[in-house]
């Protein structure tokens, strides 16, 4: 039902209907934002990830063809966008080093010592999740951030429950290996 509503909106968007686009954005923003936040851990960056995906969707609306469900498409897009962001952030930029000064320090306030452990785990966990293989990471995040059942993930991505199960197992195995040194 929801899915067919999305599809109606998309056919309107292809013809340039901005109101339909607004509807689609608003219908999915909160969940997608929470999802991107789960990966990135920063609200405004998470919002920008969602923005980027929707801006691109709008810019390319004429060529829009969604073979799977819209939900699957949009989550995958936000997932990949966020992962790419995290990768590019990891590649430390030169100019940051150039500008290493008082400002840089003041921008990155250190977490209080008491919270260190949890903060450390959270940070490492995000990093580890972002390094999961694509499909594996997407399935894991849909399960954990969206609280979806295996059945729902399978339906959304058009794969079997067995695959979801296998990928979840794989994800946890990798995460444990990375986090428990």
């Amino acid at each position: 039902m929801v899915e067919s509503h999305d599809n109606n909106l998309i056919s309107l968007i292809v013809s340039g209907d901005k109101v339909a686009f607004e509807g689609l954005f608003k219908a999915h923003f909160k969940r997608l934002h929470a999802y991107a936040f789960g990966l990135i851990g920063d609200e405004s960056t998470a919002e920008e990830m969602v923005q980027l995906v929707f801006i691109r969707l709008w810019e390319r609306r004429q060529y829009l063809k969604i073979h799977t469900s819209f939900k699957s498409f949009i989550y995958r897009s936000v997932h990949n966008e966020s992962i790419n962001f995290l990768k590019s952030r990891r590649i430390r930029t030169n100019h940051q080093n150039q500008m290493a000064g008082a400002l840089t320090q003041s921008l990155y306030v250190e977490s209080p010592l008491a919270k260190m452990e949890l903060a450390e785990l959270t940070k490492n966990l995000r990093q580890a999740i972002s390094e999961l293989p694509e499909q594996c990471g997407l399935i894991f995040c849909l399960s954990r951030f969206e609280d979806l059942k295996y059945r729902e993930i399978a339906d959304q991505l058009g794969i079997s429950i067995k695959t979801v199960e296998a990928q979840m197992t794989k994800a946890m195995k990798i995460l444990k290996k990375k986090l428990v040194a």
Binding site: R60, M99, I129, K149, T169
Partner: protein, 400 residues
């Protein structure tokens, strides 16, 4: 042995996700009780699982506000995605003035005057009686300088750089600053107030993000640390996200670099334009004073300055505009008894002469028309089959 392990791992995950059967849970419990090592493994799995679930837990952001923020970044609805190119070289100059207008209408004279001057030494321009807006300069000497702007954005100026902003920055609906030199910006995220940096020929617009602008000699370089930044030169607009850079070298075109800053291995994805760039330098600066209709539009809807500018055309391709101007001229000619409008086959009015049907008009008529219609140097108003040169109004008789 490995076989068993795989099975247990599968069960662990099933158990955690609530998909395990009672039988499977029993098996797992039995396994956990065998050794403390197994118990620890179960605890570790649980910790990771729960930590992962908590990663996305956060206060919900209002989607209406989010939509408003995003709308500012969307290309114009009316424009197709391929037409994100600015037609008019002077638009970028116009934007400076407009942005200040949206702050204070009278104040723009001041910013306009300061542009292009050498780095001022004063910390603050004196206030004048006609305007309640004054400009603040942050000037760095031999040392870098870090400062917090009135809107709480942070700027770290590299040596010998200057940042200029109007004191209304903290309340302006569009935050605007001008940079000479290099700086790192950490822009305060704001719901609905875009932040624009003018750097040479570029306008860099952001919502709340950090990025670096460098202007060695004739080049402007923008690198994005976090967030999204729209970079606009006189013709193009490109969206940059984290890790990406754009470079505008000399009079050339805007080039886009992806993840380009490490090891100096820039990969230029592509230049986005043709070669209109050179023309810009010769064009006289766009003087918004000469375009009251644009000012009116902007005053009515200052938020939409970007699209208004993009679409504004003082006698370029906007046929309605051309018709209006030509008709005004023809009406004036008729009303002043110079010539019946239907008898005008063609005319050309520029800064040098007024020629109707091939006949040069007397000096007094020419001067009167010139003063009324020629808005700036090089502007031409033509009816008939004249070759289109430079800026102005060009209209064929049949299009009237």
């Amino acid at each position: 042995m490995k076989e068993i392990n795989n099975h247990i791992e599968e069960l662990l995950v099933k158990f955690l996700s609530g998909e395990a059967t009672a039988e499977e849970i029993m098996t797992l419990k039995k396994w956990a009780s065998v050794s403390s090592e197994n118990e620890t493994t179960l605890a570790q799995y649980k910790t990771i699982w729960e930590a992962a679930s908590n990663l996305s837990a956060k206060p919900e952001t209002d989607e209406d506000a989010a939509w408003k923020r995003m709308q500012a970044l969307l290309p114009d609805t009316e424009m197709s995605s391929t037409r994100r190119i600015y037609r008019y070289p002077w638009l970028q100059a116009a934007a400076i003035i407009i942005l200040v207008i949206s702050v204070s209408f009278l104040g723009y004279y001041r910013l306009f005057k300061i542009r292009g001057n050498k780095t001022p030494v004063v910390a603050q321009a004196p206030k004048t009686s006609i305007s309640d807006t004054s400009l603040t300069f942050i000037v760095s000497g031999d040392q870098r300088k870090t400062d917090t702007l009135p809107d709480q954005s942070i700027v770290e100026l590299n040596t010998h750089s200057t940042l200029t902003y109007a004191d209304t920055l903290s309340v302006a609906s569009h935050r605007f600053v001008e940079l000479q030199g290099s700086a790192f910006f950490k822009v305060k995220h704001n719901v609905s107030r875009p932040f624009t940096v003018k750097a040479g020929r570029l306008l860099i617009t952001v919502l709340g993000t950090s990025f670096y602008v460098k202007m060695p000699a004739d080049t402007v370089e923008v690198s994005v640390e976090t967030g999204i930044v729209a970079v606009t030169d006189e013709k193009n607009s490109v969206l940059l996200k984290a890790g990406e850079s754009a470079i505008l070298a000399g009079k050339g075109d805007l080039a886009y670099l992806s993840n380009g800053r490490d090891n100096g291995q820039h990969k230029t994805i592509g230049s986005l334009t043709g070669n209109v760039g050179k023309k810009y330098q010769k064009e006289p600066a766009f003087d918004i004073n000469q375009h009251p209709d644009l000012i009116r539009q902007l005053m009515q809807d200052p938020q939409k300055w970007a699209s208004l500018l993009k679409n504004y055309s003082p006698g370029g391709n906007d046929i309605e505009f051309c018709r209006r101007i030509i008709n005004n001229v023809l009406d004036d000619l008729e009303n002043q008894g110079i010539i019946q409008r239907d008898n005008v086959r063609d005319f050309k009015l520029d800064g040098d002469a007024f020629i109707i049907n091939g006949t040069r008009q007397p000096q007094d008529i020419f001067v009167a028309f010139k003063n009324k219609y020629i808005k700036e140097q090089g502007y031409v108003i033509c009816l008939g089959d004249y070759k289109k040169t430079g800026k102005g109004v060009f209209l064929l008789r049949k299009d009237l």
